[in-house]
Amino acid sequence: MSTSPPASDGPLLTLSGVGKSYNGDAPAVADVTLSIERGSFISLVGPSGCGKSTLLRLIAGLLQPSQGTLDWEGGDRPDDLGFVFQDATLLPWASAFDNVYMPLKLKGVSRDAASSKVQEALIRVGLGDVPDRLPRELSGGMRMRVSIARALVTEPPVLLMDEPFAALDEFTREKLDDDLLTLWRDLGWTVIFVTHSVYESVYLSERILVMSTEAGPGQIADDIHIDAPYPRGLSFRQSSAYFDRCKAVSAALRDGDI
């Protein structure tokens, strides 16, 4: 499963002055300008209502910007972006296999033709042995794994994640964080990860975009690079370098709120 990036040095996606307001209210996202490099792991961090989910939906094309433009490398938005929601968002009547098969089914791929890809995606997230279980027969963490398998089955160049592990217990969450990093490194995705957890964002990302509500609604208050090497494991989680970076991001969040 590898995506074949066209040889190019330009950013994968460039946002120029992007803004979004609903029905004339105060903007949810205002004047965001940034570029996203291919293969990077970026987190959007901020308090509830800061516009981070709106920004993610603008990137996904689920919302259209009120101002500004999004320019993808090569012209158009890739037509199979992976998207993972806070809830697993599975079809409750369909098995794990059929849930992962769904994106391929919508593209007209037959069940037989898709079978090996679906199985491979399930194995990648550690669910190779439970393809026939229904969502309600799986734990919260396993449901989220199905959701990730569904996102990766189309081999998307970009994976967008909207607070994906926020509803899980801490142990499960740390495990999924590690597995996500492994997948990211193996598959060469670009990941844009929305979270309200400073700790999670520092652990996962190369780059953190801090959004705030007060300094200017829906704006990016800070752009912080986390230059720790991968693979990151327990030793990184417990290192003073990790805590220093968490402090820096927290400080940026607070500055934004004054």
Binding site: G61, L62, T89, K107, R136
Partner: protein, 262 residues
Amino acid sequence: MSSSFFRLLIPMLVGIGALLFWEAAVTIGDVPKFVLPAPSVIGAALLENFGSLISALWVTLRITLLAFALAVVGGVALAILFSQSRLIEMALFPYAIILQVTPVVAIAPLILIWVGFDNVNLALLILAWIVAFFPILSNTTLGLRSVDHNLMDLFTLYGATRWQRLWSLQLPAALPYILGGMKISGGLALIGAVVAEFVAGSGSGTGLAWRIIEAGNRLQVPTMFAALLLLSLLGIAIFFALTLLEHLALRRWHESAVNRGS
């Protein structure tokens, strides 16, 4: 002893007790059977008129089932149409409500004139359909709209067509609502068929409602009770058949039907 056994046993004991009390009270009090016949007399009347009552039951059952089937098809089809176009929904939904709130008894004479007095069966079918149709329409419309918004977004992201969205997402998600509507509507179809026969009279065959009127005119109260008994049994059978259908369709995945083992 399981609790489901008791759940059957207790109402049955109550029923048998009530029948015995009824039998004893009527016998001791010497109540004439054209006022309140004893259960044994009703049983005898049922056996005596079994052939004609069963054929009347069949007539009522046929109209009920046909009206119900057409209500399901029509209600689901119209709800799908509404889900595809807000404009059509805006234009037609008020008329569906008008159809629903106007008492069917009041429309019966009009329908009868329109279809002609030699087509009473058709009139009965239309009237029962009107009564049974609305719960299906209203529940299916609600169900098609109640799909998880994130799942709708996901289908958008993957470029699903309108048809794929309807078939693979909206209809399965609406299934619990449709089945709930069917449970209401099954009983209503029977009520509609009986009320319509009271008002519009009988067609080529005689239904149970007409047998009740007939027996009433002749003061054959035990036969009236026997016909009533068959109607109740029919209603109960319809309800249980639809409950079973709901259970079979939803037992694996829907919260309402999942056995949580407690």
